[in-house]
Amino acid sequence: MRPERRGFDRWASVVGAVLVWEAVSQIGILHPAFFPPPSRVLVALVLELRTGEIPKHAWVTLTAYARGLVLALAVGIPWGVLLGRVRSLRRASAVLIEMLRPIPSVAIIPVAILLLGIGEEMRFAVACYAAVWPLLFNTTYGVYNTDPVLVDTARIFGFAPWEVLLRVVVPSALPFIATGVRVSSAVALIVTVTAEMVAGTGGLGFYVKATELGGRIPEMYGGILLLGTLGYLLNHLLRAAEGRALRWYRGAMGRAEEVGG
């Protein structure tokens, strides 16, 4: 198939969906009060961008998400390496972790509200808690499955234990860790938005809910559109970074098992 034809295929569904929505709403098959045409949504979105209303909320969401994810990386990866390497620690924590694991991470939002109130700290803490799990599981799993022959070889060549860790164990677990980062990123965004809806004073989740309650429907769609775009861009960014970091590792993408939170 010619490349331009592929390009057409790629865009046809998005453009087509927008056009169908526009037409259906303009004709009135779906009530325009509930399903405003995309043109009106776009106008509303641009207006809100220019007044600075939406950027303000987007910034609140992104900071809580990013702070939560970064702290989760700092905690989840070293912890996972430890559990993957040290058998006694793994055994000791197995039951406790397996007991906590099935509790959906959003269920701790009420606890976080009790302890931290409804401000930014609460949302940051919840995002961090939720993002730690996929990182912990994927890192543990990847480290646990390091080829023992590689480790022994490095030891025979006189590598110190920390060199073995940094130059053999962690690189070989990197595909799994990268998967963990991607899952954690998605989870952190979902949980942040949920917390904003449940007890928000700001953020895009709060904005979408407030505009719905206030009957500002085109603005609500604009907020949803922006959240979708954010999720898409963040996922794309991480995939690109992963592709670069793992260029040496062929088939990395196919091997890592996704472990949800």
């Binding site: 790629r10 569904s13 039951v95 959003v106 998605a186 949803i224």
Partner: protein, 262 residues
């Protein structure tokens, strides 16, 4: 390539793990007795509350609606995802056509859709079922697609050479070969559906477990809140075990599935 080892689970004999768990529970009990804080009830108090709260009235008022919503949403996602995923795996052009739309919708955080669902479908069950189905659709769809696409071409050619008709090839070669990956998607989606159920009930519902724990927090009924959270953990665990049972049955012929069974 070496087959990756699974981490030892909860059901393996592990006295050290249980000891640490009991230590955690004991430490909670002692610390909370000492602190006497309203927000930090003792384990005994939570267990008592758990037994008192999860009786028939609350089970039918909150647990049953939750499970029904989740079942309906997940079932809808399983059906649509499998059919659409198989179609996308079979027809490359359809896949290329839909992929950008799928990539965008999949990246949208499901809670963002709750206000939309409440607006267009009302406060009833339909809006919650929609959001649960929407969020759990993608892992099933993508795994079904990849599963169909990755079927060994040589197997299909061989089956054709032996004179199997297209329908027979689909049912006896493609379907079984797709099954393990389809189940991987179904398993991921089960967790997603569970979480989305809680989210949807927290944001826009007047019953269900998600509503129950958030409402308990708002009323400062702290032991009730913890009792709700622990019930969620228990349900999450049971749902997973049930899924593993079904998967073990369906995929018992498949080598890779043995690792799943305890």
């Amino acid at each position: 390539m070496r087959t990756p080892r699974r981490l030892p689970g909860i059901r393996s004999a592990n006295w050290m793990g249980w000891l640490v768990f009991l230590g955690f529970v004991g430490a909670w009990e002692i610390l909370s007795r000492r602190s006497g804080s309203l927000y930090f009830p003792t384990v005994t108090r939570i267990v008592e509350t758990f037994a008192a709260v999860w009786q028939l009235p609350n089970l039918s008022a909150h647990v049953v609606p939750s499970l029904v919503r989740m079942g309906e949403g997940y079932g809808l996602a399983a059906l649509t995802g499998t059919v659409l995923g198989i179609a996308m795996g079979h027809w490359r052009r359809l896949d290329r056509f839909l992929e950008p739309l799928v990539e965008f919708l999949r990246a949208t955080p499901p809670p963002a859709l709750i206000p939309f669902a409440l607006l267009t479908m009302g406060i009833g069950d339909a809006s919650k079922v929609f959001v649960i189905a929407f969020s759990s659709l993608w892992p099933i769809l993508l795994n079904a697609r990849d599963g169909v696409r990755n079927v060994d071409q040589a197997m299909i050619e061989t089956a054709r050479m032996f004179g199997l008709k297209a329908r027979e090839v689909a049912m006896r070669v493609v379907a079984p070969a797709t099954m393990p990956q389809l189940f991987a998607g179904l398993r991921t989606s089960l967790g997603v559906a569970f979480i989305t159920m809680v989210i949807a009930e927290m944001v826009g519902s007047t019953n269900g477990l998600g509503y129950f724990i958030l409402n308990a927090q708002r009323l400062f009924a702290v032991p009730e809140m913890y009792a709700g959270i622990f019930l969620l953990g228990l349900l999450g665990y049971l749902v997973n075990v049930a899924f593993e049972r079904v998967e073990g049955r369906v995929l018992s012929w498949h080598r890779g599935s043995r690792a799943v069974q305890p």
